[in-house]
């Protein structure tokens, strides 16, 4: 309690309330540019924080992190390209909403859901960190593998029109994830002798290629003379979220935030997986799953609350165990060290005051995010008014610059082009891109941990069923696939009966 009050005192300095909006603005901007991630934003701003006191420095970086995770939804909604991998699930309903002319509504919901998710996550960090950390330690290779399988089961939910195309997509993704040096045996796979491919294909590079480049190519059928719709500036922001829509989204946001906290607290997973699982669970428990994917506001609410719900929670294993939850927290951990705080089990004892200030500050960050986001969405919504022939050129430039800046090499630009061309043809054949992305994201997690688990169990597969957490995930995964199969079957039967009559 004493530390809590001490933390409150540190937080109450006026400088903190200036630096948080600045961090958020930077975060939202880098998050909204495909190819620039909050990771990069944090790295670039670390040197700026050298002169600050630790609380202020970390709060600024956290604001970039949270802002970036929210900001990625803006491009996902407006131009069908997730700004960061955490926002990929927002595509499903966010972009269809834009197509229907409800972009502002989708942006507003993304912001609202992100804020609530972020707040719940910050509260979980504040009150439950030590307890959650203990559970995290129970996660061994078997549990991670089971979690990845559970994540892959989402494919059943997101490709219900053609499960086979979904599975083929996931296999393509899994295949892409095998490129590079295999960490367990040390052999190189599918690199064709090229050293450049040895570290595999960067997730962000694959993301730009798959989504952004292919999206621009898909628009090659666009004819500016007839297809461009003129939208009046005043009409864009008129369409606000109704009370009924807020009410409907209560459940998806609660579910999304909860899943976000749980997945976020598991090191090595991150907001992207949380968003997919939350989206899938919301769709499953919905009374009208058929509207998902057609511009359902609940879908945006679920995925955006989940990825920001993961934001604060990724800090739990970092602060208590010294294990970063994802890429951005790994960099944040470096920032903690620079400011004299070595994350790990003794940090709370040694620097409790500052930690409480930071955790309380995270709540402030989320409140500010709502305010700043509201200002930004008003401007961003007008992006839909830019003629596509101009927007495409801008997006392409950003994509290429982003791809280059990831590793400072031209090679990655060729990779995004190859990915873009392949994705274009897959989309023309009615393949969904998300199963491919799931394969790329979860493939390494599943494969590495499967093999680690088998080393530990001396080759016995029993390890996945005898360990309770692992067994539970596998059962949920099977149950969730079975539920979808049953629903699809019922829907088909109903269709047949309707046809017979």
């Amino acid at each position: 309690m004493e530390q809590f009050l001490g933390g409150l005192e540190i937080l109450a300095q006026w400088q903190n309330f200036l630096i948080i909006p600045l961090g958020l603005a930077i975060g939202i901007i880098v998050g909204a540019i495909p190819g620039l991630t909050s990771d990069l934003g944090i790295i670039l701003c670390i040197p700026l924080t050298y002169g600050m006191d630790p609380t202020m420095a970390i709060l600024m970086l956290l604001a970039i992190y949270c802002g970036g995770t929210y900001g990625g939804s803006i491009t996902a909604i407006l131009i069908n390209t997730p700004g960061t991998s955490a926002n990929a699930a927002t595509l499903f309903d966010g972009y269809p909403m834009t197509v229907k002319g409800k972009a502002f509504k989708a942006l507003q919901m993304a912001l609202f859901a992100s804020t609530i998710g972020g707040l719940i996550s910050a509260l979980a960090l504040l009150f439950l960190a030590p307890q959650i950390a203990k559970i995290t330690l129970l996660f061994g290779p078997a549990e991670y593998f089971a979690l990845a399988v559970f994540g892959l089961s989402v494919i059943a939910g997101v490709s219900n029109n053609s499960i086979f195309k979904g599975l083929i997509g996931a296999c393509i993704g899994l295949f892409m994830a095998t490129v590079g040096m295999d960490n367990i045996s040390g052999t190189t796979r599918f690199t064709f002798g090229s050293n450049r491919l040895m570290s595999g294909i960067d997730l962000i590079i694959a993301l730009i290629g798959l989504f952004a480049i292919s999206e621009i190519m898909m628009k090659s059928q666009y004819d500016p003379r007839t297809d461009h719709k003129t939208i009046s500036a005043s009409s864009i922001t008129r369409d606000k979220i109704t009370k009924d829509e807020y009410r409907r989204c209560r459940k998806p946001i609660a579910l999304g935030s909860l899943i976000g906290v749980i997945i976020g607290a598991t090191p090595g997973t991150g907001g992207g997986l949380a968003a997919f699982i939350a989206y899938n669970q919301t769709k499953q428990s919905s009374k009208h799953p058929e509207t998902f994917g057609q511009g359902e506001i609940e879908g945006v609410a679920a995925s955006e609350s989940a990825n920001n719900g993961a934001c604060g929670a990724t800090m739990i294993p970092m602060l208590t165990l010294g294990v970063p939850g994802d890429g951005a927290t790994a960099i944040l951990m470096g920032a903690f060290m620079i400011h004299g705080m070595i994350p790990g089990p003794t940090l709370f004892k040694e620097q409790g005051n500052i930690l409480y200030a930071i955790m309380l500050g995270l709540i402030v960050v989320n409140v500010f995010m709502y305010i700043i986001g509201n200002v930004f969405t008003r401007f961003y919504a007008h992006i839909t008014r830019i003629p596509y022939e101009i927007l495409a050129a801008i997006v392409l430039t950003f994509c290429i610059a982003g791809a280059y800046s990831t590793n400072n090499r031209l090679y990655d630009i060729y990779i995004i082009l190859i990915f873009g061309i392949v994705a274009y043809f897959l989309r023309r054949m009615d393949f969904q891109l998300v199963p491919i992305l799931l394969g790329i994201v979860l493939g390494p997690l599943a494969e590495k941990n499967f093999r680690r688990a088998l080393v530990l169990s001396d080759g016995s597969l029993d390890i996945f069923l005898t360990r309770p957490i692992s067994c539970a995930f596998i059962v949920i995964a099977i149950g969730s696939i079975a539920l979808f199969a049953w629903r699809n079957h019922k829907a088909k039967m109903a269709e047949k009966q309707a046809g017979a009559r």
């Binding site: 990771d39 061994g140 367990i184 040895m198 060290m337 590793n407 400072n408």
Partner: protein, 333 residues
Amino acid sequence: MKKFLSLALTLLMVLSLAACGGSDPKTPAADGGKEPAADSFPEKQITIIMPWSLGGGPDTIARQVASYGEKILGVPVIVENHTGGAGTIAMNDALQAEDDGYTMVVANGPLFSLTPSFVNVNYTLDDITPLIGMRITEFVILTNSKSNITNIEELKAYAEEGNTIKYATTGGPGNDSYTMISVLFKLLDIPSEAVPYDGGQEAINALVGGHVDVAIGSPPTYRDYVINGELNCLGTFIPEGLDVEGIGHIPSFKEQGVDVDFTGMDYFAVRSSVDDAKKEVLTNFIKEVYADAEFQEFMAGMGMKAWESTESEILDMVNAQSEAMSKYIPLVQ
């Protein structure tokens, strides 16, 4: 037809944009081909090529050093991460850059002593000149204190009970931690199997969670756990042992009768064909940074100390390491 035309145009645009990126402004300023005098060096931005990823130990230190560029050299110093290929990509890029002194690279021992055994490389130690050391990495072998194994003898006894020791490494084959811990178990001649993880924290976490029997770590990842009493140190590869604040002396494996030693090191280097006077300017720059009180405070905050060693010391260490590795690698391949 129109569709295909516009598709083709899109592609053309993409390709031309990609091609534009090819003309890197690396060509030196045209000053009549005359080598600029060293006393005017440096006149433009200096790049440090970093083989390892953003936010890691060497990257953080290099970025901190680079932040002093404007103050000490009067030009910006930037860090570029050229990751991949177990560090060989960065080495190739550094050796392909102009030898005008405007490109530095961060290298380590295993790039020369270990990596060539696993990856085709087209560089040798003769291609670079180490300028000054950066840091020393001390690998320590740890167990979970619940296992009651506190030294090598107890580990052997545990293995003799019929247990295969499962050990967590911070990377796969070709990685220095993987090689060294595998060599240790080969020399101890006890049944064991590696479980490669990605990075030091993951390996330590697997040990703390009780998923593996043994893990390899370097400071500061394990320090708190040892002080807390959750982990035990069995020994270190540093031949003279290691003194860690709060833990005390960690004995070396040499002291415990196992003939294996390894000292990890990172250092700044340039192409060996760079002008000697320029090498000196760069070395003095980093030396000056190391002497800065703020920089020292920064390093202390990270639980590290700058390793201010000279060119010949680094070369001797890399050569000794290469020789040792030529004995070790056949043991684990």
